[in-house]
């Protein structure tokens, strides 16, 4: 956590793309993730996948 205050902020943004856009305009290092619900939102698939971690 100490690192957070001392180093330059490098951000991964997941969700609202607007947040990444405004950060980019400002010159902050940010990578936007085009996020989608995992396993196509199917919870039973998700629990199978968790078994295969």
């Amino acid at each position: 956590m100490e690192d957070l205050f001392k180093k330059e902020l490098k951000i991964i943004n997941m969700g609202l793309e607007g947040f990444a856009e405004t950060l980019k305009e400002r010159g902050t290092t940010v990578l936007h993730v085009r996020w989608q619900p995992p396993a196509m939102g199917d919870d039973s698939l998700l629990s199978l996948l968790d078994k295969l971690k």
């Binding site: 100490e2 957070l4 205050f5 180093k7 490098k10 951000i11 947040f19 400002r26 996020w35 995992p38």
Partner: protein, 516 residues
């Protein structure tokens, strides 16, 4: 009139994008009503209410699918609109590619491409947050969770995990933060400096940081904890981590804490930590008891403005015990304004986009304005029955869940509040309409301009019936914000709207106006 719909399976887009797209689709030729929306159960009800429903949708679309529902003048226009919408949907992907930017689809790939990442900003739907943040913490990043609808148990699990790894989880429901001078989510462009803030209240952090910056001092870091952090079950984990971090931060000389009154045990933990502090700590527990704060050796502040002023003074080497005035502009003739109300005009209608500001106003007014109703939860104030219908003195926070399901937050889209302004003008009992105008990143590009459209119409409606409504506002922000505070203020003053330097100032003025 024809209703047509199209389902795009396994398609996800963020909520802001979808609302903007819906708005675009409504402007297509011949379109009467339209929604582009994710097929969750909740949204299906919304479509039913909006008259954009067809029973087949229930079968065709689920929570992972996108529903394009369009009501148009005729079949051809509806079909054309659907095709244009699909084109628009595909456009966003193309634009990214042409920019030559690699857009990862998951955190794992993002991290491979930005291995030095130290913070993740999360605004995905709440029910998916826990799983994602769990792996993000595993990867060693700090996290800001803007999303709400994360369960309390999930919040506790994530914060405990983060604590164990010496990482910070800001949120859930954390709308504002400033780290190393970088404004995150809804935040303002403020000076960097020596005052650190820990806030369990988003607009609280915004108001305090803007006021401090406007006074010529600066912010080292503004850490949001999320509203539930100070509950006993969460134990103030993030607040305490933040305080310790600010203690250790060489760049921070004074600390400000803003929160609704924490649960007993958390207050004790926080105050114990504060009592060991080597830096002055100013605490505003929004309506809480100042005695315990003083006993712990911290500086109590009853309003956000007071917190800002005391912090600035302390940073400059001054004393904590200063008098902070919340007085109206002395040039304002309160009596004149009162005289301009006709007999029926008695009440305040306070319409807020910032939750903390609404809360602060309730604290400042509830003792003086007897019949006060609100949609917020505050022990000593009655809960309003119908949030869409004001009763006597009413304070409404438009950022609350009942307004934001399927809508953008009022700080981005003021349409709902604007309609309410006009409605209140039609009520003969409305004397004062109070508004907050919040500037900054990710907010509306012209809050004052937008509100003024409604205000002008409101004035006309009231004026026809011989009523003068007093419009009271405060503008939260700085001149470095893209909306430029001084220009926003000027716009309002030009239309004879009253503008106060802080929310507390505005509330105290309203008290003078209506309570005495």
């Amino acid at each position: 009139m024809v209703l047509k719909y199209h389902i795009s399976n396994n398609t996800f887009r963020d909520s802001v994008y979808l609302m903007r797209l819906s708005s675009t689709v409504r402007s297509f030729e011949g379109v009467v009503e339209a929604e582009v929306i994710i097929g969750t159960d909740h949204n299906k009800k919304f479509l039913q209410a909006a008259g954009l429903w067809s029973d087949q949708m229930d079968h065709d679309a689920g929570a992972n699918d996108l529903i394009i529902a369009i009501k148009a003048e005729d079949d051809e226009k509806a079909e054309k609109a659907i095709q244009s919408t699909i084109e628009e949907l595909n456009k966003s992907v193309e634009r990214e590619n042409l920019l030559g930017e690699f857009v990862p689809r998951t955190f794992e790939t993002a991290l491979k491409n930005l291995p030095g990442a130290n913070l993740a900003l999360i605004s995905i739907p709440g029910r998916h947050v826990h799983r994602e943040v769990d792996q993000i913490l595993d990867a060693g990043l700090n996290v800001m969770i803007f999303s709400d609808n994360v369960t309390l148990d999930e919040e506790i699990a994530l914060k405990k995990k983060a604590l164990g790894k010496n990482l910070l989880v800001m949120g859930p429901d954390c709308g504002t933060a400033i780290i190393n001078g970088v404004p995150l989510a809804f935040a303002n462009e403020v000076k960097q400096g020596r005052i650190g803030i820990v806030a369990a209240a988003g607009t609280g952090l915004q108001e305090v940081s803007s006021l401090i910056s406007n006074m010529g001092e600066g912010i080292s870091h503004g850490i949001g904890t999320g509203g539930r952090d100070v509950k006993a079950s969460v134990g103030g984990i993030t607040m305490i981590q933040a305080l310790k971090a600010l203690y250790a931060d060489a760049g921070t000389e004074v600390i400000v804490v803003v929160s609704k009154p924490p649960d007993r045990e958390v207050t004790e933990k926080v105050l114990e930590l504060v009592s060991e502090a080597t830096k002055p700590v100013v605490i505003n527990f929004l309506g809480g008891n100042p005695n315990d704060i003083e006993k712990a050796g911290a500086v109590p502040a009853a309003t956000l403005k007071e917190a800002a002023e005391k912090a600035v003074n302390l940073a400059r080497g001054g004393k904590a015990e200063i008098e902070v005035e919340h007085s109206p502009d002395k040039q304002l003739n309160v009596q004149n304004i009162k005289d301009n109300f006709n007999e029926s005009q008695k009440y305040l209608r306070a319409l807020y986009s910032g939750g903390t500001l609404a809360y602060e106003t309730i604290i400042l007014l509830h003792n003086s304005l007897g019949d006060l109703y609100t949609n917020l939860s505050y022990d000593q104030v009655k809960k309003i029955e119908d949030v869409y219908k004001s009763v006597k003195h009413t304070v409404i926070d438009f950022g609350e869940d009942e307004f934001t399901q399927g809508r953008l937050h009022p700080m981005i889209d003021p349409a709902l509040r604007n309609s309410r302004i006009i409605e209140e003008a039609g009520d003969p009992e409305t004397a004062v309409i109070m508004l907050d105008l919040v500037l900054g990143y990710n907010a509306h590009p012209d809050p004052a301009g937008s509100a003024l459209e409604a205000i002008k119409e409101a004035k006309e409606i009231a004026g026809k019936k011989g009523r003068n409504i007093c419009f009271v506002t405060s503008v939260l922000g700085t001149d470095e914000d893209m909306q430029k505070r001084s220009e926003q203020v000027k716009k309002l003053l030009d239309e004879e709207v009253l503008v106060f330097p802080s929310n507390a100032d505005a509330a105290v003025f309203v008290r003078k106006l209506l309570a005495e």
